[in-house]
């Protein structure tokens, strides 16, 4: 036996199998032509979708900020600067730190000041805000709660901030003094002078600072840790923290701001915070109705999506099963019936799930019934087609065997056909159940119920990306669980089947 090929041997083989070794023009140019075609198509599509212009107009810095919002939150202390250079501090209405935050990364020095201008109108003077006498450093009481910063004009005496330090991280810090803001970031120091309604940097601006027009707002970007805006009448700091804020308890909950050990202690053996119910039920209630995360609503919608996929696929399976026997030409020997059923399947399948979803949303109103019906209609078509094809491919000998002993037509199907196809049928139904869990999300967004619509609404606000992330994580978990269950069941079914 010759193991090494030499030239004569090769030529001998080439002579014998000329057809195989000859390289035709078609074979030679097939691949380059295909590549050329794809490239030409890409260029044409680039023009058709005007991808270039869309990409150049896109706002990529927003993209980064949106992505960061998936897993982080911002706290926004806002310093309003008065005419005399003193400041008032305000955390905004929906601050994740609650109504009266005193974070340790904001340090202020306060002072009691007589208001220069009297209160407008004859409003009765409200008592001065209780500030600690000579209170330096972070005051226990808020320096200026959200509401009072605008209405405090009525107060005769007001607590104002004369010096503040905002620490972002070890390398980033802002120091606010009357008429001056000093910023340390990455070892560089920027001094901004605030005077006469203008914000002017002292010296040149570093790369991380930007000012569109002289004297106007200066935007300082500190990368992932946050950013700030400095203008003559206010300084807005935006400090970014990793994580989801107030995931369990919102700021109105009595459990808000307590460490987990304390919360667990309260639930297990604490005194009742609300005399009407136990701490456990109060905590559960607070979690379910968390205003920011809306856990109960999200879970309900998620369950709707699961139910839509489950019930839709199950009913599709039940209807497709008998119809497939009618459609299979080796079982029902009537061309008319076969064709009618098959075209019916084609119709159900080809009218898109979207059309069915929009249609049933009109019929039943938004909600899971619409999505369920859409999945049911589409999948009756798809499963019916697959089932009838499986039936047409069965081994006929088993049926013949059962028929030869004189079994009734029903018994022939039961013992001659069903054992062959049941594993295939069940496996396909499981596969569609799993894939419908995914598509139920999409049709939900057009109004057919489930988490899709909630997800879509959260996306369209462009500011609730943390909620989007939460729902996506839940959906991924559900899909993975169903994926695992369905593929485990399918492997068992297929391995047990004789085929």
């Amino acid at each position: 036996m010759q193991t090494v090929m030499n030239r004569p041997h090769l030529e001998e083989i080439a002579l014998r199998y000329g057809e195989v070794l000859r390289i035709t023009d078609r074979r030679k140019y097939r691949m380059p032509l295909l590549v050329l075609g794809v490239v030409a198509y890409f260029i044409a599509s680039w023009w058709f979708f005007s991808i270039g212009t869309v990409l150049s107009r896109a706002n990529w810095s927003i993209a980064g900020s949106y992505l960061a919002q998936w897993v982080s939150y911002e706290v926004r202390p806002e310093f309003r600067i008065g005419a005399d250079g003193t400041m008032t501090l305000n955390y905004g209405r929906h601050s994740p730190l609650g109504d009266h935050p005193t974070p340790d990364w904001v340090v202020t020095e306060t002072e009691k000041r007589q208001k220069s201008q009297p209160a407008p109108g004859a409003a009765s003077p409200t008592p001065a805000l209780a500030a600690p006498a000579g209170g330096f450093m972070a005051p226990e009481k808020p320096a200026a709660p959200a509401a009072s910063s605008t209405t405090a004009a009525a107060a005769a005496e007001q607590t104002v901030i004369t010096h503040a330090e905002v620490t972002y991280d070890s390398g980033t810090r802002m120091i606010l003094d009357p008429g001056r803001v000093t910023v340390d970031h990455r070892g560089e120091t920027l001094v901004i002078a605030l005077a006469g309604g203008r914000a002017e940097p002292v010296g040149t601006l570093p790369t991380w600072a930007e000012q569109k027009r002289p004297g106007e707002k200066i935007v300082l970007s500190y990368g992932l840790t946050g950013w700030a805006e400095v203008s003559a009448d206010r300084v807005v700091a935006r400090n970014r923290f990793f994580g989801w804020a107030n995931f369990f308890f919102d700021t109105n909950s009595p459990f808000f701001g307590k460490p987990y050990t304390e919360v667990i202690g309260l639930i297990l053996s604490g005194e009742r915070l609300d005399p009407k119910q136990s701490n456990l039920s109060l905590a559960w209630n607070n979690i379910c109705y968390n205003a920011e995360w809306q856990h109960l609503d999200v879970w309900t919608k998620l369950l709707q999506t699961i139910v839509m996929a489950f019930a839709g696929t199950l009913f599709a399976c039940l209807i497709a099963f008998p119809l497939a026997f009618v459609a299979a030409r080796n079982i029902t020997r009537s061309v008319v019936l076969n064709q009618v059923t098959k075209r019916f399947f084609d119709f159900l399948r080809s009218v898109d799930m979207l059309i069915w979803a929009l249609f049933f949303t009109r019929a039943f109103g938004p909600g899971p019934l619409a999505g369920m019906s859409a999945i049911f209609f589409t999948d009756t078509g798809t499963l019916g087609k697959l089932y009838s094809e499986a039936l047409e491919n069965i081994d006929d000998r088993q049926r013949e065997g059962v028929r030869s002993v004189g079994a009734s037509p029903v018994a022939v199907q039961r013992y001659g056909v069903l054992p062959q196809v049941t594993p295939v049928f069940a496996s396909q139904a499981l596969y569609f159940w799993e894939s419908n869990t995914r598509s139920a999300t999409v049709i939900g967004a057009v109004g057919a119920g489930g988490i899709g619509l909630k997800l879509w609404e959260a996306i369209r606000t462009n500011s609730n990306w943390h909620n989007v992330a939460y729902m996506v994580v839940l959906l991924l978990i559900v899909v993975f669980i169903f994926d695992t269950i369905s593929s485990a069941l399918r492997t068992r079914l297929i391995n047990r089947s004789p085929a």
């Binding site: 990529w60 249609f359 019929a363 039943f364 019934l369």
Partner: protein, 320 residues
């Protein structure tokens, strides 16, 4: 089955033992089946109750009005559908959006125009085609790193597989919505959403095909001293290419539907028009779009089935 008793009496003692054991197993099996059936029934009843309870309209309340929808969508006359489809002026035109068919025309030259719905349908089809081609290429290159027989390093293999899984499971709406926020309205968000999902879906199918490839050719090349790229390109790719192309075509069918749906939630194309015209009760427009969609989907399915049959023969076509 009914004559088991006389049979049993004729059996030897060991035979009767076996028979009894069999009966025991059978009854246990029947019990499990029954339990499973009850669980399924319970789950179904619970699901239906829950769906009905959380729906805006209740099933039995809404059922009498079910066919109102059809009555709302009866066109003024049969030709109205075709006028809407081909952007011909309507005799019922009263200046409202319902009958302004000619305004959607896309003029290619002075007098040759493409009707609006055809243009949008082409856009949707092109979204599907573009996404499929681009993701098939990406998935093709990634799939070799996920196949057990070509990538011995389990870290790389599992990383690529997890990537496919996440891309597959990630909701398309979210991708579309995210890119919609950045890129503003247009087909690109739909392309991004459909492509990312398709990379995951095709990647999985592709690496499974590659794992089932015959390794003899690759072994021969390895013996001749070929490097990894040569082995893959000359040993594996020629065998798997027809199957991969067939899967890509199957995916194209799915993507035509997917891009229609994504279009309806803001990705442009025909899906958006359909959603608008249904919500505004434009009967002729809706029917025209539904007709066009139906015909297009049937045509794409037939074309793809024919191509797949040519590529891999009749057998692979069954596993659709």
């Amino acid at each position: 089955m009914t004559d088991r008793q006389p049979l049993n009496s004729r059996l030897s003692e060991r035979g009767a033992d076996v028979e009894r054991h069999w009966a025991e197993l059978a009854s246990r099996r029947r019990m499990y089946s029954l339990l499973g059936l009850f669980a399924l029934l319970g789950a179904t009843a619970g699901s239906l109750w829950f769906a009905n309870e959380t729906n805006a309209g209740k099933f039995f309340d809404r059922l009498p009005y079910f066919f109102d929808f059809f009555r709302d969508f009866v066109p003024k006359d049969g030709f109205e559908i075709f006028r809407a489809l081909f952007d011909l002026p309507s005799p019922y035109d009263n200046g409202s959006f319902e009958y302004n068919y000619p305004e959607g025309r896309h003029y290619l030259t002075q007098d040759v125009y493409l009707p609006e719905y055809f243009f949008k349908m082409i856009e949707t089809l092109n979204i599907a085609l573009f996404s499929t081609v681009i993701s098939a290429i990406v998935a093709f290159f990634l799939a070799f790193f996920a196949a057990r027989n070509l990538m011995p390093n389990s870290w790389v293999r599992n990383a690529v597989r997890r990537l496919f899984e996440v891309l597959r499971a990630f909701p398309e709406v979210v991708v579309a919505g995210f890119f919609l926020a950045i890129l503003s309205l247009g087909p690109l968000p739909a392309i991004a959403a459909v492509s990312l999902h398709t990379v995951g879906a095709l990647g999985k199918l592709f690496f499974e095909v590659i794992e089932n490839a015959d390794m003899k050719a690759e072994e021969g090349l390895r013996a001749a001293g070929a490097n990894w790229i040569e082995r893959v390109w000359f040993g594996i790719v020629p065998q798997v290419l027809p199957n991969l192309a067939s899967y890509a075509l199957l995916r194209l069918e799915i993507n035509v539907r997917a891009s229609t749906i994504i279009g309806a939630v803001g990705g442009g194309g025909i899906g958006e028009l359909l959603r608008l015209s249904i919500s505004q009760n434009h009967e002729a427009k809706t029917l025209a779009i539904v007709l066009l969609l139906l015909l297009t989907i049937i045509a794409v399915d037939q074309l793809s089935a024919w191509l797949r049959e040519r590529l891999v023969g009749a057998q692979a076509f069954r596993t659709a």
